[in-house]
């Protein structure tokens, strides 16, 4: 049995992080009903065919009072309500916790906000890119001076994980006490959670700063850095320990160089000048051979390396295939689809693919009939424009 089998989730998430959190729950067997609203940009996002998988979808007009009633009925039979209006457009149908808790004290109500519920920014539009800017995520060396836009949505990814952490903890507590609760986190918290090195101290600390990346977009540590090969492909070294650095030095036939104490052991290099000089030397050597030849050598010499490549190309990687991290499915909108598998495995139950992303309103009738609406009532709701299917 999947870990979350029997857990019903009402998905009122219209931002990226809520969508991702819902996916993590679906992957572990939760039964999710999603309330889709018209014209939400989340549905247009490339990620929707991945993040919104494993739900049933009901579509409502958020401006109709009867829609609120339907949502309330759904909430009263849910174990978890997942609410994320951070990137929503227009009216949503998220009921306040207090209106549900009295009638349903076992409910776990998880609310995701942009900047937290307190403070001057509490009501601001919580867009991932803005929170990333504000929490220093874009403070990244790139190919010009100044900050660099970061492509991966770091605040949303972290917040999705925190949301599942919160829901799991609340389910654990409920199992012990019988009571649900309201749990909250924010994109702002997610942006901070992804940067645990922030510390403030009255006393001096060991160096702050940029660690192994330094102020160069390829990285600043000679054997923990990206280089260009002869054929224009790139190669990233990942030699973290002295032993692995020695492997790289041997493979590149650089041993003689290290008779000069200026270069230290290749990891602790006494001066920035010597470090840069070493990087220059390795840059020159790496340009002499194409990627495939280097890869063959480094395999033989036990030098950790990897190719910077496109995500789509990683889908065919033998390790990814071996772990079953690419799943084949039939998406009702786009047809045959390959997409990511689960992010963690419980050995007791390796999980199952929870099904594709539903069409908007694909299960409207089915879900309403489960709620006790008669077929004629569903017809009427459709005619009055309250629901769509």
């Amino acid at each position: 049995m999947p870990v979350l089998s029997g857990i019903r989730v009402l998905d009122l998430a219209y931002g990226w992080s809520g969508a991702m959190a819902g996916m993590l729950l679906a992957d572990q067997g939760a039964e999710i009903v999603r309330v889709d609203l018209p014209n939400q940009p989340l549905r247009q996002h490339l990620g929707a065919h991945v993040w919104l998988r494993g739900r049933r979808s009901l579509q409502l007009d958020p401006n109709q009072p009867e829609s609120g009633e339907i949502v309330r009925k759904l909430a009263l039979r849910a174990d978890v309500l997942l609410a994320d209006a951070t990137m929503a457009k227009g009216a949503t149908v998220i009921p306040p916790y207090d209106e549900l808790a009295a009638d349903h004290p076992r409910l776990i109500y998880c609310l995701l906000t942009g900047y937290g519920e307190e403070g001057p920014l509490a009501e601001e539009y919580g867009h991932d890119h803005l929170v990333a800017a504000r929490t220093g995520v874009h403070d990244q060396p790139g190919w010009r001076e100044g900050p660099t836009y970061i492509s991966v949505p770091i605040p949303s990814l972290a917040t999705a994980g925190l949301a599942v952490q919160a829901i799991g903890a609340a389910l654990y507590v409920r199992e012990r006490t019988g009571r649900g609760q309201r749990v909250t986190t924010s994109l702002f918290a997610g942006g901070l959670a992804a940067q645990p090195g922030m510390v403030n101290s009255q006393r001096p600390m060991a160096e702050r700063g940029f660690g192994v990346v330094g102020r160069h977009p390829f990285g600043s540590s000679p054997f923990y850095r990206i280089y260009e090969c002869a054929d224009g492909r790139w190669l990233h070294f990942g030699c973290l320990t002295p032993r692995l650095i020695q492997n790289a030095i041997r493979a590149l036939e650089l041993r003689e160089l290290f008779t000069d104490p200026r270069f230290g052991d290749g990891r602790n290099i006494p001066t920035p000048e010597a470090r840069n000089e070493l990087i220059e030397i390795v840059t020159g050597i790496m340009r002499r051979q194409p990627y495939a030849e280097w890869a063959e050598l480094f395999e033989r010499e036990d030098v950790p390396y990897a190719p910077p490549q496109w995500t789509e190309d990683f889908m065919d990687d033998p390790q990814v295939r071996h772990l079953g991290l690419v799943v084949d499915a039939e998406d009702p909108e786009v047809g045959p689809i390959e997409l990511m598998g689960p992010t963690f495995f419980f050995r007791g139950d390796p999980g199952r693919f929870p099904g594709p992303t539903p069409l908007i309103g694909q299960h409207t009738r089915e879900v309403l009939e489960e709620l006790g609406y008669a077929s004629e009532d569903v017809d009427r709701l459709g005619k009055e424009g309250i629901i769509s299917s």
Partner: protein, 390 residues
């Protein structure tokens, strides 16, 4: 500490980032975490301030696991723990005698969490794996460079941190499951899965799939209305992603001319003239300082944010962070009082309360912990003398 996980005991024998950071996050929820380090210390020690965040909320003991007595201590701990987290290369825990099959015989309710680089089996399982290799393979670095630039190595160890957060969420789900069924279990995740999740929007393939949106050549953002702009003294980020926000922008002093410009009259036209719009905005934003723009854009409700650099210096005075409780204070054995981010989740019924711990220095709680496990003073002295603990 009180909190939803008060009473939950976590044995953290992981090192560096993706392993240890999971238990650190759960310490915020009230879990009692013991960090077991090799006597030489976690290999992250000495590399900047990271360890203070990745190991907050833990007590620390240093044990030489190569020695048989070290293994015996671990077995006593395993009988006590609800959760164990490790991130050795596959095969190492078997050699050390602290693998799941061994420990479940001591404690069948144990939740045993393995965090690997590439998974427990398969062609790469035994390769050493570190965050940058997964950044490279899973597409983080190419997506960062985009179509116009070489790849970029991200300063934020995204595969590490995201894997750690996923791991900690898997632990809470496993605790729930154990409460319901009585059964512990073996949980696995990997940097590889954290990296795929980080790129999940593009980890799909189907006929007619749109291209992944990628940054412009200047690495400012995705388009003229979703990007950063340089100002007279810094940078700001602008997101104008619907008609309402466009009307707010064009009603703001300095931007009225946009409303009259036929090239930008509709969303479709703005997309067609994106480069011209970007150039227009670049010139305007350069004229004044960031604060002035933020105030003006804020007054007309245009979504915007400062692009902070060295935010780690600003966080501790940031009203938004402080009022939401995201800045916590801890008493560190060497540094005295420190501030760091934390308390990321609010719980209405089980709010975390009480004094949290700062990251331990190496072996800070060795004696205290051994006493709790009923080692006598004589035994502790002997273990120290033999170099089993430190």
């Amino acid at each position: 500490m009180e909190g939803p996980l008060a009473g939950i005991k976590i044995l953290d024998m992981a090192q560096v980032i993706a392993g240890p950071y999971g238990p650190a996050l759960l310490s915020d929820l009230g879990a009692d975490v013991i960090k077991v380090e090799p006597t030489a210390g976690d290999s992250l020690r000495g590399l900047g301030t990271g360890s203070l965040g990745l190991n907050k909320g833990k007590r620390g003991i240093a044990i030489d696991l190569q020695k048989l007595e070290g293994r015996h201590i671990m077995h006593r701990f395993a009988a006590w723990a609800d959760v164990l987290v490790e991130n050795y290369r596959p095969g190492v825990v078997q050699r050390l005698g602290v693998d799941y099959e061994t420990l479940r015989r001591i404690n069948p309710r144990l939740i045993y969490v393995s965090v690997t680089a590439f998974g427990g089996t398969g062609p790469y399982a035994h390769r050493p794996g570190v965050d940058p290799l997964l950044q490279a393979m899973t597409g983080v670095e190419r997506a960062q460079g985009g179509r116009h630039n070489p790849p970029i190595f991200l300063r934020i160890a995204v595969c590490d941190y995201i894997t750690a957060i996923l791991q900690s969420s898997a632990i809470t789900l496993a605790l729930y499951h154990r409460e319901r069924t009585g059964a512990g279990q073996y949980v696995e995740t990997s940097l590889l899965q954290g990296g795929i999740f980080s790129n999940s929007e593009a980890f799909s393939r189907y006929t007619g799939r749109p291209e992944r949106p990628l940054p412009d050549a200047g690495q400012h953002g995705l388009d003229a209305l979703d990007r950063m702009y340089q100002t007279a003294d810094g940078w700001l980020f602008l997101v104008v992603d619907d008609e309402e926000h466009w009307l707010s922008l064009t009603a703001t002093a300095g931007f009225e001319a946009l409303a009259q410009d036929g090239r930008f009259a509709t969303a479709a036209l703005r997309a067609r003239h994106d480069a011209e719009l970007a150039k227009w905005l670049e010139e305007v934003f350069l004229r004044e300082e960031t604060e002035a723009w933020l105030e003006r854009l804020g007054a007309s409700k245009v979504p915007r944010a400062p692009v902070y650099q060295q935010y780690s210096q600003l966080l501790f005075n940031d009203v938004q962070a402080i009022l939401n409780g995201y800045v916590i204070r801890r008493d560190h054995a060497q540094l005295g009082e420190i501030e760091q981010p934390g308390n990321f989740i609010g719980f209405s019924e089980t709010p975390p309360r009480g004094e949290g711990l700062a990251a331990p220095v190496l072996g800070q709680h060795t004696d205290e912990i051994l006493r709790e496990f009923r080692y006598s003073e004589g035994e502790i002295a002997e273990l120290r003398e033999k170099g089993v603990v430190q």
